[in-house]
């Protein structure tokens, strides 16, 4: 599904990703952990095609082809989804309106017919009930005045609707209370499928208790410095990143 080879990327002339190698096979869930500033969010942006990053070396093979040159909206339609660490607000645009616009834009880009309104509403209803997202929230402007936890749930709702092939979750657990963490994790788990890969960025082992990854990677100073099974997360939880400090700078 996803194969990142020797990826170097910089912003404003500053190199942040310094040779990332990472393979996420179809159907697997991988976690990325790593100290603050190690480049996890940057990797998620570069994977999803955000402007402003210079990929100076390396490849991103998604679904068989290199997507480094592909614009962000095309990657989205091709099935790359990013749940943002800090979801953005769009005043005056009802969440519902936004969801519909996004879903139909992707469908259009893939040459599929737009969803009819009743069909769309049905899908939203199913997904939102699972995630405890109220109808009232769907009528409110996107993320405006949403609590931290509501914003995160809204991200997973979008993921559920857009049905991506590759979902990158950037610290989706931060800001969630214990109940919300469970709801969101269940939501994510229900989206696990043999056709879908996930890259879960987190600082905390407790998320990985809920969403059990196939592999855990440690990122430090713009590189994947270690890869292991779920037990690696436990080790990190106990020892911290001190072992990898040498990799930085």
């Amino acid at each position: 599904m996803l194969e990142i080879k020797n990826l170097h990327a910089s912003i404003d002339g500053k190199e942040i990703l310094r040779g990332v190698d990472l393979v996420v096979p179809t159907g697997e869930v991988h976690a990325i952990m790593g100290p603050n500033g190690s480049g996890k969010s940057t990797l998620s942006y570069v994977l999803s095609g955000r402007d402003g990053y210079d990929v100076t070396e390396g490849e991103i093979i998604f679904d068989g082809s290199d997507i480094v040159e592909m614009p962000a909206e095309e990657r989205a339609a091709a099935g790359v989804f990013l749940a943002f660490q800090y979801p953005l607000e769009i005043p005056g645009v009802a969440t519902m309106t936004f969801l519909k616009a996004a879903l139909n834009a992707q469908r259009k880009a893939r040459g599929e017919a737009e969803l009819t309104t009743p069909d769309f509403i049905r899908r939203v209803k199913v997904a939102s009930e699972k995630l405890n997202v109220s109808q009232e929230m769907l009528r409110r402007p996107l993320n405006v005045g949403f609590s931290g936890g509501e914003k995160k749930r809204n991200e997973i709702l979008q993921m559920a609707l857009l049905e991506p092939k590759l979902a990158i979750l950037d610290e989706t657990d931060s800001g969630l209370d214990i109940d919300a963490l469970r709801v969101v994790s269940e939501g994510v788990n229900s989206l696990r499928s043999p056709e879908r890969s996930m890259l879960v960025i987190t600082h905390y082992q407790r998320l990985l208790d809920h969403i059990v990854p196939d592999k855990v990677h440690v990122m430090s100073a713009g590189r994947i410095v270690r890869t292991g099974g779920p037990e690696l997360a436990l080790e990190l939880e106990a020892k911290g990143y001190a072992d990898y400090a040498g990799e930085a700078a």
Binding site: Y45, R50, A77, F81, V93, P141, L162
Partner: protein
């Protein structure tokens, strides 16, 4: 005086006398030569078969205009206008005042299509009685002369007069005399005075006491000929307890020369009357380098003359190279209300200086201002608004909300509020925000699959929602589309 009278008499008898006017007129083009003089004013008046009092009114305005200078207080910059290099009268080629569409130049009908006039309205123009029960009467003003007037009969039944102002001057002189210039005095400002001297045509609406106008009234303007100054004049009177909603929408094709447009709109609302005036303005804004485009210097003012009367302005401004426009309300009657809802979009090199004046004179008068300015490209967008309370305006209230949205970093947004209160009990609230379409907001949308144009349109439509909701349905959809089109290419 006798000399003037003699001229007028002769002019009204014959069409054009080359000698008397000192210029040659090509009847076919039906256009007065360039430049402005008393003779041109007489020519225009004669062309319209106007009564003497109207000519005198125009000449008085012209003479006063000669003593005035162009205002310089606004935030717009443009090369000096050579008022002698403009045409002040131009009529369309088809014969004036056709009785049916068959008599209308097919070119003009084709124009409706190009202008994207909604199908239903085109159908109405084509004589097809719409399936919809909510009908729109269209008084189309092409260049200067009203060419088509529909639904006249039905309006007549309700006692509503909706016609070209030139017709009203001839048919309803008493009403026109009473109200013309009573809201915007002849000497109000440079452009209004110029308009008073040379106004070509425009609409006249009179709603009799207690009548609710049975349909929304709509006018489409279009600037037709090269170098033709457009001087529309609109007068709307709502008698006691009358209601009317008037829609004005306009657009123009590409052109490369600057054109002056100086319209005057006067609204009069008597006791318990209500006037809603909505505008979608989409004139040519100039090319990518800022060349060409319409100069739009408009004076729009409503007088809430009667107690409990209400005037509401809603405008969506996307066009013109320069917009200088402050639709205002004089809240004279006690408990009267004024509203101003505005969306002003500027892109490219457009300059917008727009806003409103709410003049509270009566007791317990209320006003509400919601202004949304969107600046993209290298444009400049200024909100300029005055809220004032007179000594006697006890209990006056105003709420102002003024938001600006910037797209890119080469444009500018400015808010210039003036607040004057001579009554201690007046309560004026003012809110203002300036925001930017941030890169991360855009990326968020792109990541969800929207193109950058769709993303901007979505964000902008969210930003202007409060105002769009004030527009009549048929305008709301058009306006949203127009806003998106106007911002095409503003990012990425």
């Amino acid at each position: 005086m006798p000399a003037i009278q003699e001229t007028v008499d002769q002019v009204s008898q014959i069409d054009v006398d080359q000698y008397k006017y000192g210029f040659v007129t090509d009847i076919e083009s039906d256009r007065a030569p360039k430049g402005l003089s008393e003779d041109i004013v007489r020519f225009i008046s004669a062309k319209k078969n106007e009564p003497d009092w109207m000519l005198e009114w125009r000449l008085d305005a012209y003479r006063r205009w000669l003593t005035m200078t162009e205002p310089t207080w606004s935030r717009v910059h443009y090369p000096k206008i050579d008022f002698d290099d403009l045409y002040y009268y131009s009529a369309p080629k088809s014969s004036p005042g056709p009785k049916s569409l068959d008599e209308v130049d097919p070119e003009l009908l084709a124009m409706y299509e190009k202008l994207g006039i909604p199908l239903r309205e085109r159908e109405i123009l084509a004589g097809v009685e719409g399936a919809s029960d909510r009908r729109v009467a269209v008084d189309a003003v092409f260049d200067s002369v009203s060419v088509v007037t529909t639904f006249k009969e039905e309006l007549k039944k309700a006692g509503v007069i909706f016609c070209a102002i030139s017709e009203a001057i001839r048919e309803y002189p008493e009403i026109v005399k009473k109200y013309l210039g009573s809201v915007v005095p002849v000497t109000d400002n440079y452009y209004a005075t110029l308009n008073s001297a040379v106004f070509s045509d425009g609409s006249f609406v009179y709603i009799p006491e207690g009548v609710r106008c049975p349909m929304e009234l709509s006018t489409y303007f279009r600037i037709n000929e090269r170098n033709t100054g457009q001087f529309e004049r609109t007068l709307i009177i709502a008698e006691k307890g009358a209601h009317v909603s008037y829609l004005e929408g306009c657009t123009a094709p590409m052109r490369d020369e600057n054109q002056l447009h100086a319209a005057v709109v006067e609204l009069v609302a008597l006791e318990d009357a209500e006037i809603k005036y909505s505008t979608v303005q989409n004139w040519y804004p100039g090319d990518k380098d800022g060349k060409g485009g319409i100069y739009n210097f408009v004076t729009k003012r409503g007088d809430c003359r009667g107690d409990r009367s209400k005037i509401s302005w809603t405008q969506v401004e996307t066009g013109s190279a320069i917009t200088w426009k402050y639709p205002s309300c004089i809240l004279r009657g006690d408990d009267s209300q004024g509203e101003f809802y505005s969306i002003a979009v500027s892109n490219g090199y457009q300059q917008v200086d727009s806003g409103t004046k709410m003049i509270h004179l009566g007791k317990n008068t209320k006003s509400r201002i919601i202004s949304k300015g969107i600046a993209a490209g290298r444009s400049d967008n200024t909100y300029r608004g005055l809220v004032s309370a007179h000594r006697k305006a006890s209990g006056a209230r105003n709420f102002t909300n003024c938001d600006s949205l910037l797209i890119g970093d080469k444009c500018g947004a400015h808010t210039v509020p003036y607040i004057e209160s001579k009554n201690a009990s007046a309560v004026f609230e003012h809110e203002a925000t300036t925001s930017k379409i941030a890169d991360d907001q855009l990326f968020y949308c792109l990541q969800r699959g929207l193109s950058s144009e769709e993303a901007v349109a979505l964000i902008v439509n969210g930003f202007v929602k409060d105002v769009i909701q004030q527009l009549p349905m048929e305008f709301a959809v058009e306006a949203q589309k127009l806003i998106s089109i106007s911002l095409e290419g503003s990012v990425g």
